[in-house]
Amino acid sequence: MKLHEYQSKALFQEYGIPIPQGRVAETSREAGAIAAELGGTVVVKAQVHVGGRGKAGGVKVARDAAAAERHAQAILGMNIKGLTVEKVLIDEAADIQQEIYLAITNDRSAGQPLLMTSMQGGMDIEELNRTRPDAIIREHIDPILGLQPYQMTYIASAMRLPRAHWRSFLKILSGLYACYNKSDAELAEINPLVITGAGALLAVDGKVIIDDNALYRQPALTAQRDSSDEPESERLAREAGITYIKLEGQIGCMVNGAGLAMTTMDMTKLYGEAHGIGPANFLDIGGGATPEQVATALSIILSDANVKAVLFNIFGGITRCDEVARGILTAYNAVQPEVPMVIRLQGTNAAEGKKIISEAQLPHLISAETLTEAAQRAVAAVQESA
């Protein structure tokens, strides 16, 4: 779960990391009032879960409250990479002498937290990694022991941070690790961490992503979820315990298992790409899906107007194909789809499942033996519908 910039920075502050004075606004008038209250130059920043908002015009400097209100009006409602800006953060502008990159993330290969920092802040880590890999200091953290003081000294020394800033920086390192650790974060990033003209350190921008699997023990963070930029269909699926991700193609996919779901998408693209046909979604109904869940999943798939055919690919392992077949019939009756549905059942009780489907003699049902055949038939069905 991604936190917005303003949420991330508020979290940092709880861990003793200094941040600029500022507040979030949902209207331009509110933005103006906050700017007036802060006084002086402020920055108006779009709060959206996407990178590159600066280039998209979502970040503006304002010299006074009137300018702040004007900028907020322009930014609120702006569409950035498909997301609508619903909130802006009004922060006092920092007097920036130096920008530092600082982040802690999970290193998958090492199975350990990894701290990365650089005196070349401001650009994102991928760009930094491409252009100045030697300027990044990387330090693994023992997941049991945590970040030790001697490691912090090493980091400050290795990155050649001027000594005058060590004390403040070490406090920020220790605060950021505590924040990452206690929040079950996948990523806790300050970029830039600014050295101001007055010699203070300030987290000017921040990004925190919380491990979805740990949300059960992070009630305060879970309560901060902002679903406003989550598509309605994905939210419904999430609430029903189904993983669904909307894509741009025409073939709705319903599959058991994440790897097979991706593969099924890939097959529709493999056979459909030449004809401009591809997957409309990722959907994993999981291992023990009930007929109700199958019905919900089918409604969600069909709520996408692009969908011209649905492909069921079920490889029964623990999942029994006869049960899935009954689920499909229930869903069919509940949803009454008007697009063709290709059904491929394989594995445990596949024969019984196929029998149930064929005996139901429903319109628009096409059966297939293999994944290849199923994908090809779904592509053909879309072509016929055109």
Partner: protein, 285 residues
């Protein structure tokens, strides 16, 4: 022969009195796996299908010598269960549980390394040596005994490929599901190395997916150290970047971990990469 498990492996099931744990323990026993008992805290002294249930792994290992443990407990208790197994001296722990927080897994992994315990998973379908034993949920019907080793991040995709091989009369030495989580106990490279050293494995199928760089490391290993032919499939060519495709680890992030990048690396390493997993049997012939 085979890797990791065989007919002699003595298996304890952690969470055996649970719905999932009990169901799979029965299927494992039906398959011929030597399940010697189970553990459920607070249910020590009970019996499960003629096998003793213990309160703790320590008591179970003390009473019934065991090699392998299967963890089937819910996510909130799984990290503790793995550590309990490692602390009790179990050298191979296979964890099916999904949705374990990454922070927990990192701690657990450090603990397992200290104790010299190999962890497979979490969030994996387990391990099967066809005709000998299975520890996990891989269905009996997807594989025959044979000489192709399979290692995979995914469950049902593995069944799909196993089944495609079986239909062509190709069997498997051992099938290993390593799981699709970002932090896992055993990587592609670990298993490739075991297959390379296993005299009964002649060829290997590798089933990867987007996210992370484990397949790149596998390609490096294949290039530098493998003599046996490898056929591969990478799922997720059609997945958009920045989105988590079901598996917690399946996300292309900052341009890294894409299917194309992995396919290129594997092909450059000499592996034959299928565009369609049902072609894997052809690539193995």
């Amino acid at each position: 022969m085979s890797i990791l498990i065989d007919r002699n492996s003595k298996v304890l099931v952690q969470g055996i009195t649970g719905r999932q744990g009990g169901f799979h323990a029965r299927l494992m026993m039906e398959y011929g796996t030597n399940v010697v008992g189970g553990v459920t805290p607070g249910k020590g002294g009970e019996w499960f299908d003629g096998k003793p249930v213990f309160d703790t792994m320590r008591a179970a290992v003390k009473t019934k010598y065991a090699d392998v443990s299967l963890v089937t407990v819910p996510a909130r208790f799984a990290a503790d269960a793995i550590m309990e197994a490692a602390d009790a001296g179990i050298k191979l722990v296979i964890c099916l549980t999904e949705h374990i927080p990454v922070a927990d897994m990192m701690r657990v992994l450090a603990f397992c390394r200290q104790r010299g315990t190999r962890l497979i998973g979490p969030n994996c379908p387990g391990v099967m040596t066809p005709g000998e034993a299975k520890v996990g949920i891989i269905p009996a019907m997807v594989a025959l005994p044979g000489d192709v080793g399979v290692v995979s991040k995914s469950g049902t995709l593995t069944y799909e490929v196993g089944f495609a091989m079986k239909n062509r009369g190709i069997g498997n030495s051992t099938i290993v599901g390593i799981g699709g989580d970002p932090v896992i106990g055993t990587t592609f490279v670990d298993i490739l190395e075991m297959f390379e050293n296993d005299p009964d494995t002649k060829k290997v199928a590798l089933l990867g997916e987007i996210g992370g760089s484990a397949e790149i490391a596998a390609a490096d290993y294949i290039k530098t150290s493998m003599t046996k032919p490898v056929a591969a499939f990478i799922a997720g060519r059609s997945a958009p970047p920045g989105k988590r495709m079901g598996h917690a680890g399946a996300i292309v992030d900052g341009g890294e971990g894409s299917a194309d990048e992995k396919i290129q690396a594997l092909e450059a390493a000499g592996a034959r990469v299928a565009a369609n997993p049902e072609e894997i049997p052809d690539l193995l012939s």
